[in-house]
């Protein structure tokens, strides 16, 4: 391996490592909830949050004022706050004369803003920040005149730390010169990404995209950028080697004089600047069978090469202005002129003293060093004084609330107090979070029932398996209330990973959690007669084409703009009347069947032969000019055998072809190479065909596992509903975020149909009976779809329903409709701004109508709340939670440990559904805590980008998280951000062993990404996994008494 190759591999490896903390971003067609700090899950939660906050310039916890509101609303456990404070205090030396717990509790509950300042500039220039002497002097009502002047040299380490290291050079230049290179650079990179990664939105696409991101971009780059790249190529590229992205990255990093030990950190900072785009590129580069990435390749190294090139170009443009252009230059500047650097930093980061802003600006505008020196002394003195007074004021406000006198404190005590307050405010977020979680745990545990289910006299009218999604909890509760329904919770893909080839589409859609890759393909087929496309649909397509071209919109608006106006009025004024009518004008998807059964080898071989025959006939006509009647079956067979290498090219065959031997041999070669009639390709095709359908064994396995995992192994009802879910809304790029996460962000109906079809097969049932799962003949598995926006549950595949069941359909439909209406009534107040937990003010029918309108209204930014307020993941019997309303906050996975002695089912639940639940929970957490950075801001400003994401305005980073309308209400969190409280109902050792066996979940639990409770029904105890690594056991009954409520954090 040459040195160059080695260096390129090193660059690749470094970029790979640097990209790890950036979360993957899936295209929004199948929105996948993901923990924004997924790349940091190897760290404990608190540590990861701190790192994420630095990396993404975001907030990791809510502001104190919001937590205080939660405390007022009894959503925070005050006792836990006290316990946490006690624990904090116990770990420190006591402060004489100070009731520290009282101070800290007052700070948390009665002061709504931080007392100790923790911002950038204080970190940069600790020497300039208020010190104890300054605060003491301020307390005494005068300035700290004895304070020594600030030694500029003492600022150098802070400035170096802040401006060098892994910080991109242009960011430092912006901070020192007031330039906007970072913003300009981001804009240019976004444009490049939009051009290259477009997936059919643009009419005019970037040329040469087949060459890959970096090379295609280089080909269209403007003159100066291209000249820069030519220059790099001239100095770097070896003979015969094209300029590669790795070469560019290597060259520019050296040119910027960034020490190599900082490269990984530097790359991470670069990549995290546009973490949405970087996450998408990361995902795309690693996605298998993704059409666009297979055609147009691009990865983080390309992105970095583009970014660094543009950054260098922008820096070069400004070198004339006397700015440092390399890390080395900047280092020299810091060491030679720390006063100047400090003042510049103050001015251009906006932290300058307001009173002196004009003076500082004037001094920095070309005045001499003497002016700067004089100003530095004045400025730092004033700054210290201002900081000291501000610190005194904040401390004084706290002391007043505490009821203490600050004047009584001596210097050492005050110093220790300030230090303690600083540490406490750094740890405060976790304290609030634990106290919120404790309150949530208490309210859950007090409602749980460990009593065994009363015996049933007869089987239920209907058994219904819903997705574990939190939105299913409400409909399940109402369904159970309106009739003899028994419900279960199971991951919405029903344990069957399916790759669907939908009718009329040529690509596969994976209907399972993204953690899994489906092995089996299901084909959707129609038995309906193929009909002409309705005129309106064709007209619609034509309109779109007209809109997309360059000139035609000008004419189109004049000519047929009015039609669009009418459409708009219809959709706006009367969506419930207009939309169904409009829908009828388009072709309706006819009833379809799913091809579920495996093809036999003979069937697959026969299909392949037929395809190859058609190809060979076509090739003979194209290549040799033969007529179809001359290409008879025996000739085709002979050609095929020759191409596959099974037989020699016989003289009769050559004669039949009517060409020379050489030409015939060339034709066979072309059949192999161009028409892919060869053994290798045939094997691949056989493999692909082999993926279609499920073998009987597989079907039995999936049905058995699905039923066992929810504990439904006997007493089957006449109807067993398998209810998938999805949402329906208009004009909503985030629609798939409201669909089923367990189905890869798609509707769950297909999986329900697949499992139902399997479970209804007599052959499968026979095999299940052998395994002890006896499904009576009159039990029918019926797929259904729960529309979470309207709460309607619609039944599917009714044409397959036995006639003996038709008589019960009306009762079933009535029950489902009643439940849907009650559910809509329960949800409506929170959708209408009434806040969570408000009681209904409209009758069920009216609520249902409003919910349906929401689903059709294209101006509705919040058709539903989605999984907002999710807090719990409960694995256990339904009886555990049947008597309590969980307000749509719990993922409910049915589980009966008694049918799972080997813990295999529990481990499956932990591996898939729990991990997906934790991703969802964390996405909601961070989107609620900092919607601008981790969420995606308001939907109102969103525009679809490249058909795979959204941007804010016309140009921004890809918005990766959830929109404000999903997690915030009137600017305040609607979703209560907490870690997922996971409850497993099983004997303690059973549950513990299962967790220990699933490495990914063990990591999440140990690092505190989920809070874990095990409820042991056999001993009636609750075991909580504490963040210090131990288990705390308490009898369940204690949780029912609020005085003895869980004190999780007491030492």
């Amino acid at each position: 391996m040459s040195r160059t190759q080695g260096q390129h591999l090193r660059i690749r490896a470094m970029v790979y490592v640097a990209g790890e903390p950036v979360p993957l971003f899936w295209p929004m067609r199948s929105f996948i909830a993901n923990n924004p700090l997924h790349g940091l899950e190897h760290l404990p939660f608190a540590e990861a949050v701190e790192r994420g906050v630095q990396l993404f310039h975001a907030r990791g916890f809510l502001p104190r004022r919001t937590y205080q509101d939660y405390l007022q609303a009894d959503a925070v456990d005050r006792a836990t706050l006290s316990a946490e404070i006690e624990r904090f205090v116990a770990a420190r030396a006591p402060l004489v004369g100070i009731d520290l717990p009282h101070w800290l509790m007052t700070l948390l509950t009665r002061i709504d803003a931080p007392v100790m300042r923790r911002d950038v500039i204080t970190d940069v220039a600790a020497d300039v920040a208020a010190d104890v002497n300054g605060v003491l002097a301020a307390l005494a009502g005068n300035a700290d005149r004895d304070a020594a002047p600030v030694d500029a040299a003492s600022l150098i380490p802070d400035l170096r730390n802040r401006l060098l290291g892994d910080r991109p050079i242009y960011e430092s230049i912006d901070a020192l010169c007031g330039t906007t290179i970072t913003a300009e650079l981001n804009d240019l990179v976004i444009r490049a990404c939009l051009d290259f990664f477009d997936e059919g939105q643009s009419v005019w696409v970037m040329p040469d995209r087949e060459l890959g991101f970096f090379r295609a971009w280089r080909n269209v780059a403007g003159g100066p950028v291209r000249a820069l790249l030519d220059e790099i190529e001239a100095s770097e590229a070896r003979a015969g080697q094209a300029l590669s992205a790795e070469m560019v990255v290597d060259h520019i990093m050296r040119r910027l004089q960034v020490p190599e030990e900082n490269w990984i950190g530097y790359f991470t900072r670069e990549i995290a600047q546009l973490h949405g785009w970087a996450g998408f590129i990361r995902w795309r580069a690693s996605a298998r069978h993704y059409h666009w990435s297979e055609r147009y390749r691009g990865d983080l190294v390309d992105l970095l090469a583009v970014r660094l090139t543009l950054a260098l170009r922008l820096l070069n443009k400004r070198i004339g202005a006397g700015l440092p252009a390399t890390s080395g230059d900047l280092q020299v500047l810091i060491e030679d002129a720390p006063k100047l650097v400090y003042l510049r930093h103050e001015l251009y980061t906006g932290d300058v003293l307001p009173d002196m802003v004009q003076r500082v600006e004037s001094a920095l505008e070309g005045r001499g060093p003497a002016t700067v020196d004089a100003l530095f002394d004045d400025y730092t003195r004033a700054k210290r004084q201002v900081e000291a007074h501000a610190q005194r004021d904040r401390l004084h406000a706290l002391a007043v609330q505490v009821g203490a006198e600050l004047d009584a404190l001596d210097r050492d005590t005050l110093s220790a107090l300030l230090g303690t307050l600083t540490e406490f405010e750094q740890a405060e977020g976790m304290i609030w979070l634990r106290a919120m979680e404790d309150r949530a745990m208490q309210s859950l545990l007090t409602g749980l029932s460990l009593a065994p289910a009363p015996p049933r006299e007869k089987r239920p009218f209907v058994q219904a398996a819903f997705c574990i999604d939190t939105r299913s909890e409400r409909i399940r509760r109402h369904l159970e209330a309106v009739g003899d329904y028994q419900t279960f919770g199971i991951a919405g893909f029903f344990g069957v990973p399916v790759s669907l080839i939908e009718l009329g589409k040529g690509s596969e859609t994976h209907l399972c959690p993204v953690l899994l890759t489906p092995k089996n393909v299901v084909l959707e087929m129609s038995s309906a007669v193929r009909t002409e496309q309705p005129a309106v649909t064709s007209l619609g397509h034509a309109m779109h084409k007209l809109k997309e071209s360059v000139l035609s919109p000008f004419v189109t608006v004049e000519a047929i703009g009015l039609l669009f106006g009418l459409d708009m009025i219809g959709k706006t004024v009367a969506p419930q009347l207009y939309n169904p009518w409009r829908g009828q004008l388009h072709a309706q998807k006819s009833g379809t069947h799913l091809l579920l059964d495996k093809l036999s080898r003979e069937q697959a071989d026969s299909i392949l032969r037929a395809v190859q025959r058609a190809i060979i006939v076509e090739a003979a006509e194209q290549e040799l000019g033969m007529e179809p009647e001359d290409v008879n079956d025996s000739l085709v067979r002979a050609l095929r055998e020759a191409a596959l290498g099974h037989a020699e090219l016989a003289a009769e065959v050559i004669g039949a072809l009517g060409v020379s031997t050489a030409r015939a041999v060339r034709f066979i070669d072309r059949l192999r190479d161009n028409y892919r009639i060869n053994a290798a390709f045939m094997n691949r095709q056989m493999e692909e065909l082999g993926r279609i359908g499920f073998s009987t064994d597989e079907q039995v396995g999936f049905v058995s596992q699905a039923l066992s995992s929810i504990g439904l192994t006997r007493d089957f009802s006449r109807f067993v509903l398998l209810v998938g879910h999805g949402s329906c809304s208009e004009n909503n790029p985030y629609e798939s975020a409201l669909d089923c996460g367990a189905c890869g962000g798609n509707h769950g109906l297909v999986n329900a149909r697949v499992l139902a079809q399997m479970a209804n097969k007599p052959a499968v049932r026979r095999r299940l009976a052998e395994k002890g799962i006896v499904i009576p003949e009159d039990s029918w598995f019926l797929p259904a779809m729960h529309n979470t926006t309207t709460d309607e549950v619609t039944l599917h595949d009714l044409e397959l329903l036995p006639t003996s069941h038709l008589v019960y359909l009306d009762r079933l439909r009535t029950g489902l409709t009643s439940a849907a209406r009650l559910c809509a009534q329960e949800r409506l107040p929170s959708l209408q701004g009434g806040g969570a937990g408000e009681t209904a003010s409209v009758d069920p029918a009216a609520a249902f109508r409003i919910a349906r309108r929401n689903a059709m209204d294209w101006s509705q930014v919040r058709p539903e709340w989605g999984l907002s307020r999710n807090a719990y993941f409960i694995v256990g019997r339904r009886d555990l939670t049947r008597d309590m309303g969980l307000d749509g906050r719990a993922f409910l996975h049915s589980y009966d440990y008694r049918v799972d002695p080997k813990r295999r089912l529990l481990e499956n639940i932990l591996t898939g559904p729990l991990v997906v639940g934790q991703w969802i929970n964390m996405q909601y957490y961070f989107s609620a805590v900092d919607n601008e950075r981790f969420g995606s801001g308001s939907k109102v400003y969103h525009n679809v980008a490249g058909r795979f994401g959204v941007m804010t305005g016309n140009l921004s980073d890809l918005r990766t998280g959830l929109p404000a309308q999903t997690v915030l209400e009137n600017g305040r969190p609607f979703h209560e951000p907490m870690r997922l409280i996971t409850v497993i109902e099983a004997p303690f050792e059973h549950a513990r062993a299962a967790i220990e066996n699933v490495a990914s979940v063990k990591k999440l639990v140990r690092n505190g990404w989920v809070r874990l409770l095990v409820i042991d029904p056999e001993t009636a105890t609750v075991c909580l996994y504490e963040e210090d690594g131990g288990w705390r056991r308490q009898p369940h009954g204690e949780f029912t008494d609020s005085d003895l409520s869980l004190r999780l954090c007491t030492a």
Binding site: A113, Y348, G350, V352, P354, D355, V357, Q358, E361, E932
Partner: protein, 255 residues
């Protein structure tokens, strides 16, 4: 004698470089009320002197005024401090009064029409300085997000200051452009003068928008500040309404 009077008047209806005196004074005056009084009184002194001269000013004075107006409007673009900006815009606007006609009463009215919105802005700037320490774009105030009432008041005040219809200075500018005096004795075509005045107006708007962009727009640094009280916001709103009403009234007088 009259030239000397006009030169003295050029100190109060400031023409460059005599304008530097006013701007120095305005920059040093930190009290909002004093600054407001200064804005009201200063140009009226100049108009008093013009009235004293009894003769129309020489043509070159008007050219000088036009150049001064353009110069200060152009320089205002680079300013980041609202207080300084008020001084520059006042200088630029008052220079235009030299083109406004020969009747002192009308000139006084025009000067007042230019001063009044700046007085309101000056008072608001005083409020901003009290709350935020300064009204300067470098402070990254992000007013719209941290103090929306202040933000709205500032937007309205700047719009008024840059002669947006229907504020009185807008009609004064129209009157200046359409004044029969303009151009007649200056050796310049009315089209040229009108174009320069329009350019000056454009530059005011440009500089005003830059200020708004720096102070109102963007993510504010988290400062614990209270927004403007409702009572004060109402007072400013009444001020803008009065200005707008005065503008409509002035349209009838001047046009």
């Amino acid at each position: 004698m009259s030239t000397a009077i006009y030169l003295l008047a050029a100190l109060f209806l400031p023409l460059f470089p005599l304008s530097m005196a006013f701007n120095q004074l305005a920059a040093r005056t930190r009290q909002p009320l004093v600054r407001a009084v200064l804005l009201l009184i200063w140009p009226q002194l100049g108009i008093g002197l013009i009235a004293l001269a009894a003769l129309p000013p020489p043509a070159w004075f008007r050219v000088w005024a036009l150049v001064t107006a353009a110069l200060y409007a152009y320089r205002a673009i680079a300013l980041r401090d609202v207080g300084l900006w008020i001084g520059f815009i006042a200088t630029s606007a008052w220079s235009l009064v030299w083109l406004g006609g020969a009747v002192p009463a009308e000139l006084a009215l025009q000067a007042l029409a230019f001063s009044a919105p700046l007085v309101l802005l000056s008072l608001l700037t005083g409020d901003l300085e009290r709350h935020f320490g300064a009204a300067h774009t470098r402070l990254q105030l992000g007013l719209a997000s941290v103090a929306p009432r202040y933000a709205l008041a500032l937007v309205m005040a700047i719009l008024a200051a840059v002669a947006t219809p229907v504020f009185p200075n807008f009609f004064t500018i129209l009157a200046t452009i359409s004044s029969p005096v303009a151009g007649g004795d200056m050796g310049l075509s009315p089209l040229v003068i009108g174009s320069v005045v329009a350019l000056v107006w454009l530059l005011w708007s440009w500089s005003g928008i830059r200020l708004l962009q720096g102070i109102v727009v963007g993510v504010g640094r988290e400062r614990a500040v209270a927004d403007m009280s409702r009572a004060r916001a109402r007072a400013y709103a009444i001020g803008y309404l009065i200005l707008a009403g005065a503008g409509l009234e002035l349209a009838g007088v001047l046009l």
